[in-house]
Symmetry: C2
Subunit: 507 residues, 2 copies
């Protein structure tokens, strides 16, 4: 049952005075529950409890924390249809997507649970003493990763489950041994509360200390700001806009004790198509990319917003084909009227820039908050001269840049801001000459895909979901995959410890 | 030969108008060479060359970069006595220390060379495709650490060799594949230029691209500020004061593209002595610690500036004994008149605080810039009530805090700022009850030493030299040991790459 209250530790709490409701973007109708924004007292209490829970929770054996994570997964499944219906009513997303995202969320929790069954993920290093080394003996040194402390996780608008309350940031931080305080996303506060109730139930059932998790409602930016400023908070996870992520980064950097902010932000995910690939299979590429552009109504951070190729008649016909196919796919609702409005405005802004040509825009009547998929094109020179064209249009929008030659294409890549991904569509005969392109692109992105699409971020060990700024605030870490756990830990050295005082894995 | 000029790539350059000299603190006489501060044009050129060198250098096989690092070590040795004499005349440190530090510097270079002989340090992960996975196939993903880009290293006043021009920051960044621009420390600009000449010679001899290294002179803060603001710089290494490190961190955080600053800053390195240890071996502990306090004239970031124990007659006599022994060791010159003055002033300031008692201060006549070793004591309550007592006094200075009981001792630890190290002096019979103390201390430090001294930072795989702020700006990385290389890299994923385009280690 959704109460509209916050979870401060194990207790429901609604002491604040600000309330808000969520909205179904498919109908533009508000959902019934009033959510009560957390007040300063509740924020303080959540952090006080998290700080008290930290030494207990972080020093627990990994197997105990793994039980907790697995129990969260079970409890989320147990929420059954109420969760799926709430998710759909707060996001406009389909039942298939809801269930798929629930599966991914559960998969992530179980992956981290399995990771921490042993302490190998803590990168144990044993450097034995050399007592007879000259001129001075070498001491015994052993190193292990340890948890940072309480972590604040901001729910993401575009992943109500997989990157919100019990999403990748929460799962990885809890796995690492950090208590988590979630700043719930206001657009799906009901989904958030349901998932929070599952986490609280799992925490109680598996004997976790109270304070290991809290869930705070918030409609505006104040709660988030207070959390990031709070001296008891030791790290922050965020997925969202560049403006939002940078604001949090700036607050954290100004603290007396600065803390890391892992903000995964905007990206236009350049796709480079070689002339040979265009010549051989333009139609298939257009079909594949029309789907990738529309996937999740374009509301993925890996949406292919930029396609680069060298001018040719084949490119011209590809562009027209891509436009047709992209706008032939039935329009879907976006997550929220605000997101829909921003998509419409930004798209229109880009089309109005000098040198851009509108290739196609979805024409059929659109119901409430449905997105009009859009394809535009521009010359390489115009693109290079206008950084307004380099910005993300969040939604089903893609721009094809017609480069005059290979040199201009490389120049365009060098002038891009940092990106999550880059994709190269190439023929086998191209491979031997791709190295310069790969090197240029590698310097701007966190992941390169050959002959695929950037959408679909595999949750696995070798995934890098992050990249040079502004794709993320810290390119040295990934937000997706098992290594996301590294964001919440630091190395610690045990020097000349007697055996009995060493952690098991270092013995 | 020392010219006083900058190295901009392979060329000596002295286009600036500001000049300065170094000073021998033992005589208070200036050394002869005029050093010419780098100007904006030279800074730009160094960064332009570093940026051009980056793709070539970072994509070179590790074995080639290893040759370069080993050649630097050889060339530093080849500088022979000129380097040792210059070092001594610019730092007031002894010949033994000069040679020891040279040995450490060379050891670090060779350690990183050996680390990068293979690509295993780049943490390769191979996640193979599962083409028949339902509902969608799993792509092939492989991950490797790649270099960030040009790095700026600030020379440290207290390590003219091991943490300056070719010190740990430079060696690890060069090993990672990052070109390095050194902001030379003005107090030992001659030592810096000599070592820079060795790096340049090694770079030429091993076929490195020009721009892989530059050395910039600077007397004030302007060159450093310009470097950290420069858009081509991708990371910064610094060892020094909290004020200096924080200023650089703040500049980097305000950039359009924020970059990581690894500043290793102040620390008072708490040492906890159990009552049983005091009872059994107070004299031996006092002897050991009087030496550790005086080591390097107290000018180590791991100097034991704070000793904690529970009140007892044994503690009182230990304090007096420590005072006598610490001030019985012959006084030595500090690195520079400014450092000496700061030591005198800060020490006097602390002694003037309410509740502190001066136990002993070095009494004999002191020559130019020699340090008066000092031991003070204070009650746990007074310490807890006055954060002025928690600040570092850089030099041979230590404060013994007399705690009323175990609870107050734990309280003192919880109220400390972040530290590089913590030390516990305990008897075997104490071990079974040490866990709560270790947990509290672990939360505040990067390394705990049992029954040793914090000074002497072993260069090895398991070393953590870093800690919660303000010990360092980023506790997630170490500044010493082989893992210091991780500061200069980020993960990168190869998705569905054909075999021929994968780096060797990922095949």
């Amino acid at each position: 049952m959704i109460t509209g209250k916050n979870y401060i530790g194990f207790s429901l709490s609604g002491k604040g005075t600000k309330t808000y409701k969520t909205l179904d973007p498919k109908t533009n109708q508000e959902n019934p529950t009033f959510f009560i924004e957390a007040n300063s007292e509740e924020i303080d209490k959540a952090l006080q409890m998290a700080t008290a829970a930290f030494p207990v929770y972080s020093n627990m054996p990994g197997t105990k924390r793994a039980q907790f994570l697995n129990a969260i997964a079970d409890e989320i499944l147990d929420l059954g249809d109420e969760l799926i219906q709430t998710y759909m009513s707060e996001s406009g997303l389909s039942e298939g997507r809801a269930k798929g995202e629930r599966g991914r969320t559960i998969g992530q929790l179980r992956m981290f649970a399995s990771l921490i069954e042993t302490d190998h993920w803590r990168h144990p290093i044993i450097d034995k003493a050399i007592p007879d080394r000259a001129p001075i003996p070498k001491p015994d040194l052993r190193q292990l990763l340890i948890a940072l402390g309480p972590v604040v996780v901001f729910g993401a608008s575009n992943f109500p489950l997989a990157y919100s309350t019990a999403g990748g940031d929460t799962a990885s931080a809890l796995a690492a041994g950090c208590p988590v305080i979630v700043k719930s996303h206001p657009m799906h506060a009901g989904t958030g509360e349901l998932v929070a109730s599952a986490i609280i139930k799992a925490a109680k059932d598996t004997g976790m200390p109270e304070g290991v998790f809290s869930n705070l409602n918030s409609a505006g930016i104040e709660v988030g700001q207070q959390l990031v400023k709070h001296p008891r908070v030791k790290a922050v996870g965020f997925t969202g806009s560049i403006r939002g992520g940078r604001a949090l980064y700036d607050i954290a950097a100004k603290r007396e004790e600065p803390i890391p902010v892992f903000a995964e932000m905007g990206s236009i995910n350049p796709v480079i198509i070689t002339s040979k690939a265009l010549k051989n299979r333009a139609t298939a590429i257009a079909t594949t990319y029309s789907k990738s552009i529309n996937l999740g109504t374009g509301q993925f951070c890996t949406n292919p917003g930029l396609i680069l190729a060298i001018e040719s008649p084949a490119l011209t016909s590809f562009i027209n084909d891509l436009g047709e196919k992209t706008t032939a796919i039935a329009s879907q609702s976006m997550l929220h009227p605000n997101i829909h409005k921003a998509f419409e405005n930004k798209g229109t802004e880009v089309i109005a820039q000098e040198g851009t040509t509108l290739v196609a825009r979805y024409k059929a009547e659109i119901p409430n908050n449905h997105a009009r998929a859009t394809v535009v094109t521009v010359s390489g020179t115009a693109f290079l001269n206008n950084s307004n064209l380099h910005q993300e249009v969040f939604g089903p929008f893609s721009m094809v840049v017609k480069c005059s030659d290979e040199a201009q294409l490389l120049d365009v890549i060098s002038n891009l801001e940092g990106q999550l991904t880059g994709t190269i569509i190439a023929e086998e005969e191209d491979y031997k000459s791709l190295q310069p392109l790969i090197e240029k692109l590698q310097n701007r992105v966190g992941r390169i895909i050959i002959n695929g699409v950037p959408t679909g971020v595999e949750v696995c060990d070798a995934m890098t979901h992050g990249g040079p700024y502004p794709a993320s605030t810290d390119s040295r870490f990934t937000a997706v995959g098992s290594q996301a756990i590294k964001r919440w830990v630091r190395p610690f050295s045990y020097q000349d410890f007697p055996e009995e005082l060493l952690p098991g894995i270092l013995k």
